[in-house]
């Protein structure tokens, strides 16, 4: 089945070009040009992935991102022309899974989208635990279920992938580059902001005290590792 893509972009030429590329890559795109109607279009189309321009007329891309994230864990890839860290981090913090800097190559965009859609194909029965005793989080991998003391924690698919990657090798330190490769499907990229922001978001959901993390630990200068009992 062709994956449905919702493209939220106000530039008609770019939207049309995106349509040509996406159709040729086997996606089924739908378009909306302003922020106000983006949420309605999202409910209507029920896309598998959203491409979202950060600068939109009406409602800003950041607000659209928050609104979509509030009701769905669907992968969101930002299209941004702003390279400042503030803008990138703001977009990621509002819930985007990944971002592509304009101008991007079509292959790069498609690779990112595939990486976000790829998940859940080879889920063998597996239950993982992570965190120190007394503050353990259980992950049922095929069921996409994360629980602490039998209480479900809602994670987006990306956050889930990030947690699973760390939990599968509990004693190992993951550099940000390795996480970028394993979770986001990047090769040869050093954009550590992506990892940092998502680790913060993940901590905010699963840690008892996000200021003093026990489940996802920072290894200074190297990266992150899972906290073990």
């Amino acid at each position: 089945m062709r994956a449905r893509v919702l493209v939220v972009d106000d530039d008609p030429a770019l939207a049309e070009m995106l349509g040509i590329v996406l159709r040729s890559e086997g996606f089924s795109p739908a378009f909306v040009a302003d922020g106000e109607r983006a949420l309605a279009a999202f409910r209507d189309v029920r896309p598998d992935i959203v491409l979202l321009d950060l600068m939109l007329p009406g409602m800003s891309g950041i607000d659209v991102c928050r609104a979509i994230r509030a009701e769905s864990g669907v992968p969101i890839v930002m299209l941004t022309a702003k390279t400042d860290t503030v803008d990138v981090v703001l977009g990621l913090e509002s819930g985007a899974d990944d971002y592509v800097m304009k101008p991007f190559k079509p292959k790069e965009l498609v690779a990112r989208m595939r990486a976000r859609l790829r998940r859940g194909e080879d889920a063998a029965p597996e239950v993982l635990t992570i965190g120190p005793g007394g503050n353990q989080v259980t992950i049922d991998v095929p069921a996409h279920l994360v629980t602490r003391e039998r209480e479900e924690i809602k994670l987006t698919p990306l956050e889930f992938d990030l947690l699973v990657a760390l939990a599968r090798k509990p004693r190992q330190v993951f550099t940000r580059e390795v996480l970028l490769e394993q979770v986001w499907g990047y090769r040869h990229a050093a954009d550590t902001r992506l990892v940092n922001v998502h680790v913060q978001r993940l901590r905010a959901k699963i840690e008892a005290d996000p200021e003093r993390p026990e489940i996802i630990l920072t290894v200074r200068g190297v990266g992150y590792k899972a906290g073990t009992s």
Partner: protein, 628 residues
């Protein structure tokens, strides 16, 4: 006695107490002196008051001494003159009375002398307060003394005075009159007095006539004058000091006020102003100061506005250019991927379009980056970063470029992580630029990248053995759009902004980026970064000018880079592997390690260990690489 016993018992205790008191006192004095010194240096007012005190004290003292002396002299002089006129009268009387005698051994002579003295004393004595003494002089030495009036008068006549009188002079001398009692029986204390003497020559020989007179009235007047002068002087000095203090205060207060306001201004409170009172010089100071503040504020606000506009502009240009460029990029890519279906001319056009779009993008990115630096809005996102990993990545990514240029890149780095608080994106950009440049200008010779750190800084040098730099060019290379040789064909293109941006990146970290080069010896670039964000650099762990022309190890023809671990899911950094290895190798730096790595040619023979990184001795590795 018990009291004495007690006191002797307590003696050592008391001495100790005294000593400690003295020490405490000394410390207190030292503390006061320190405070005083500080106040002296800081307070203009204190200094001016002190100078005024000193200067006015000296002036008033001189003035007082002169006035007092003049008045005292005047008083005494008139007294002396009055005494001398009395003495002259006495002289005539003595001449009359004793001039009748013809013989010195006249029986009546001593009696007459006594009578004359008593008469004179009665005439001028004013109640026993003064005395009259008549002495026989010269041949008449044996006669007298005849004294009358004040008792003990003759002892007051000094030999010196007598000699001067005998020398036929009217002489006077100041003395202290002994205590006595007045006719009413009241005690009179010792008081200042004067002896005046005159020789009286008659037929029988020369007599000496002396008056002993009290001058306590004159002394009292002189004392009064002196005291008045002293009191007036002190009052004057104090008054001057107080006035100096007040006047200084009048000037210093506005100055202090101005200093405070200036401090607030420089702290960013741009709307701080001084109060303007009156129309005097101080008011002018305040008014000028305020004028300056207004101008500064206007200028700063204007610059801020401009900067904000610039930033907005940069951001807008960025967005406005990038969106259509994305469309163009995608269209060009579509054409490029299907170029095989196009006719040769169209196909080549698609290739050119694609390649130039890459350059255009690079140029756009660099221009926006440099304008962000110019606008002062480049922000540093520092986080602890392993520089070894960054260098590995940089060398790794440039491997294909190096291979195309048939250049080997050698990385000399410690085999433990070098953690520095830096912006990893910026540092990677700088290093990619330096290594890329070295490969471009390497002329087929190897490129050596060295990383070394001390306790406060980390340094990376990138050395190539190409054409080198001409004198003066080591500064020019950082200029925008500068090219070493305009006629030389571009190999890898580049925007001409790379090193300018790198320099700005280094500065943003508080680091240094410098170049060295000599024609024929190649070039070396050195990046030095403080290990802690915001740290200051004092020295660099690596020299800018290389010590030798030699390669640090035998030359090989392969690109050197770190070996990928066999299992791609095993990341390079395994905690267990971080600690081991403080080997000392032939390159001098303890713990350094030349990490060879495989090219496509050498991959099969590269040593693989399950965990950590392969750490192989330099010679061994090069021979191994040579075997391959």
């Amino acid at each position: 006695m018990p009291i004495i016993d007690l006191s002797t018992d307590q003696e050592p205790v008391r001495a100790e107490a005294l000593r400690s008191m003295a020490r405490g006192f000394g410390r207190r004095i030292a503390a006061f002196a320190a405070i005083g010194h500080r106040r002296w240096r800081r307070s203009l007012q204190l200094r001016i008051v002190a100078y005024t005190l000193i200067a006015s004290s000296i002036l008033v003292s001189i003035f007082g001494v002169v006035v007092a002396t003049r008045i005292q002299d005047g008083l005494l002089q008139s007294r002396i003159e009055a005494s001398i006129s009395q003495l002259n009268n006495g002289h005539s009387y003595v001449e009359d009375q004793l001039g009748a005698f013809n013989r010195a051994d006249d029986y009546d002579l001593p009696r007459s002398m006594q009578a004359v003295a008593e008469n004179l004393a009665q005439l001028y004595g004013s109640g026993g307060e003064s005395g009259v003494v008549i002495l026989g002089g010269g041949a008449l030495r044996g006669l007298g003394p005849a004294t009358a009036g004040l008792g003990g008068s003759q002892q007051l006549i000094s030999d010196e005075l007598e000699a001067r009188v005998l020398d036929n002079q009217i002489a006077h001398q100041f003395v202290t009159l002994p205590p006595t009692t007045d006719p009413q029986g009241n005690r009179i204390a010792a008081r200042p007095g004067m002896v005046v003497g005159i020789p009286v020559t008659v037929a029988v020989g020369t007599f000496e006539l002396y008056y002993v007179l009290p001058i306590d009235h004159e002394a009292a007047s002189a004392d009064l004058v002196r005291n008045t002068v002293i009191i007036t002087g002190i009052a004057l000095v104090v008054l001057l000091a107080v006035m100096a203090g007040l006047i200084t205060r009048l000037v210093v207060n506005p100055v202090r006020d101005a200093a405070r306001t200036a401090q607030r201004l420089s702290a960013g409170l741009l709307d701080q102003r001084m109060a303007v009172r009156g129309e005097d010089d101080l008011a002018m100071l305040a008014a000028s100061f305020n004028q300056m503040a207004v101008n500064l504020q206007r200028q700063i606000v204007r610059l801020e506005d401009m900067s904000r506009l610039q930033r907005r502009f940069t951001s807008d240009v960025s967005h406005e250019l990038r969106t259509p460029l994305t469309t163009v990029r995608m269209a060009a890519d579509l054409l490029y991927t299907s170029r095989d279906d196009l006719d040769p001319l169209m196909s080549r056009s698609a290739e050119l379009l694609n390649a130039e779009l890459d350059r255009f993008e690079e140029l756009l990115t660099d221009l926006l980056e440099i304008s962000r630096f110019d606008a002062g809005f480049a922000a540093l996102d520092a986080e602890p970063t392993d520089l070894v990993a960054v260098l590995d990545r940089v060398v790794d990514r440039l491997a294909s470029v190096a291979e195309r240029a048939e250049i080997s890149v050698r990385l000399i780095a410690p085999d433990h992580p070098v953690i520095a608080e830096v912006d990893p994106r910026r540092v990677e950009r700088v290093l990619r630029n330096l290594v890329g440049n070295a490969i471009e200008h390497g002329e087929g010779q190897p490129v050596v990248v060295t990383l070394y750190s001390d306790e406060s800084a980390a340094a990376v040098t990138v050395r190539d053995f190409g054409v080198g730099l001409k004198p003066g060019e080591e500064k020019l290379v950082f200029n925008r759009f500068w090219r070493a040789d305009p006629s030389r064909a571009r190999q890898t293109g580049g925007t001409g902004l790379g090193l300018s941006i790198s320099l700005e990146d280094a500065r943003l970290h508080g680091g240094w980026l410098e170049a060295w080069g000599e024609p024929g010896r190649g070039a070396q670039f050195r990046l030095v970064l403080p290990l802690r964000a915001g740290g200051r650099l004092n020295s660099a762990p690596l020299p800018l000018v290389p010590e030798s022309n030699e390669l640090p190890m035998a030359t090989t023809d392969v690109v050197l880079r770190r070996a990928e671990p066999a299992d791609s899911e095993t990341p390079a950094h395994d905690v267990g592997g971080l600690a081991d290895g403080d080997q000392i190798n032939s390159n001098g730096h303890p713990g350094d390690n030349v990490r060879p790595a495989a090219t496509s040619k050498a991959a099969g023979s590269d040593p693989q260990s399950g965990s950590g990184q392969p750490t192989v001795d330099a010679d061994e590795s090069s021979s191994e690489a040579a075997h391959a």
